[in-house]
């Protein structure tokens, strides 16, 4: 009788360990996949920027600094991105710099209605907004998934299985509050040359 109860307990415990292990592995893969998604969107963004720059360059020889900042931030981001997913910290820093450079450019474009009226800048603006959103949402999904994964592996009793499942806390994608919150400075006294 006693051995029967012991056997049942053993079976239940084994089933639970299997379940917890598989849960951790599936969360780990989801985290990795979510990270890949950010990568895809970042590549898209890097490919879009040269188009944007060449579209506004002609009409915008008055805001050279803003444009230069975008180009430099983009090149820096491409370089860091080649380092691979291990360098989450560096990548996120470079991408944040690119984000703030881009948002400054967007604000500048907003200030000059003539610029928006010329050619396909309106469409490019929509493309850029969408790309920025995609990066942000991919980041959000990654952070949500990674947080879920981290919480799961640290909470008792799943933490007992975490070592066996080789679960490591995943790095969150930091958003530098300062860069994101900074209101871009626009010199309104500067009028377009046209």
């Amino acid at each position: 009788m006693a051995s029967g109860i012991l056997l049942v307990l053993l079976v239940v415990a084994t089933l639970w360990v299997i379940g917890a292990y598989n849960g951790l592995v599936s969360l780990k893969n989801q985290t990795v996949n979510a990270f890949k998604q950010i990568d895809v969107q970042l590549k898209r963004r890097h490919d879009l920027i040269p188009n944007l720059v060449s579209a506004v360059r002609g009409a915008m020889n008055f805001e050279k600094d803003t444009l230069e900042a975008v180009i430099q931030a983009r090149n820096q981001a491409v370089k860091v991105n080649a380092a691979g997913p291990q360098a989450v910290k560096q990548i996120s820093q470079a991408e944040n710099a690119l984000s703030s450079a881009l948002s400054r450019l967007m604000v500048v474009v907003e200030q000059y209605p003539q610029l928006k009226a010329t050619g396909n800048i309106g469409q490019l603006q929509e493309e850029l907004t969408s790309t920025e959103n995609k990066v942000a949402f991919a980041r959000q999904l990654y952070n949500d998934t990674a947080t879920q994964y981290n919480t799961k592996q640290q909470q008792f009793p799943a933490s007992l299985v975490a070592g066996v499942a080789r679960a490591q806390p995943a790095d969150l994608w930091e958003i530098e509050d300062k860069a994101e919150r900074d209101v871009p400075q626009v010199d309104l006294s500067m009028k377009p040359k046209t």
Binding site: G122, E126, S130
Partner: protein, 345 residues
Amino acid sequence: MTDETSLNLFQQQELNRRRTTWLLAVFVLFFAWLGFGGDYIYALYTAHAPPAAQHHVWWFGFVMLVLGVGLAAYAYQTGSEKVLWATGAEEVLDPADDKQKQLVNVVEEMAIAAGVPRPRVWIVPDSDPNAFATGTDPLHAHVAVTQGLLDLCSRDELQGVIGHELGHVKNLDVRLMTTLAALVGAVLLMRDGTNRIFWGSGRGSSSGGGGSRGGRKGDLGPLVLVLLVVWIVSWILAPIITQLLALAVSRKREYLADAMGAQFTRNPLALASALQKIEAADMPTTHVKGGAAHMCIADPLGRRLTAHEGFVADVLATHPPMAKRIAILRGMGYAQLKKEGGAVS
């Protein structure tokens, strides 16, 4: 039922899978009852007749069973196509203007936020703002919005609405709702068909058959009569019951999809303002017929029932009161603003 919104995502998905299975099973069983019940009544009715007049194979029941299984399978397989076809939606393959391009972009963004593949995008040529999602799973999902919604909503509001629809996709509400819509459609079709048979043939034969039926009336036991009444009533009630089912299933899910949409966009106030605009536009979405009403973000029939809660609304409305949904979303929005230290305007 009351706290089904507190389950986690996997439990939600499991719940929807189970409910879809149940729905299909009940549908098939109902057809079997219509068929075999008819056979049984006929057998009791002819029990005293000479053996030649009885039928020993219950062919009507088998026909109805096969029909029920066939309809259920067909409804499950082609439900989303049928719904889209019935609303006259057109797929956006190559965005024709800036608005359509924006819609496609917004759907792509929300698909990333929800972590599902990008659903196919459709536009319903209707000037009333509304939207729905359909499909059997995230891999075969469709999102449709009306032209009116595109014209009315800002980018952020559109994002809120699409987030809500992708909430339905992600927790597999679409599977249940699409199957239900297809089954409701099938039953409505059946009602139209049987009405034609009953009334059409009834008119022709009633004068001739009256005499002989009267003569045999004494043979009918009370059991047969009761069965006959129940059987006829279930033929008549079938369409009403399936529609009530559609209503009951969908109401609670809207709150959940609102919450999921807010989670994807992190912007509950945009969805609240979109809902407000949709509510203010309050005219019926003529392209969406009764069978698919429960799939839309707002009641396409523009019924006044949706305006308040209570017993009648609980039984008959497809959607929870708009004011309550907006209030809940606003609450989320202000809580978020407060947490971030921003000012509540």
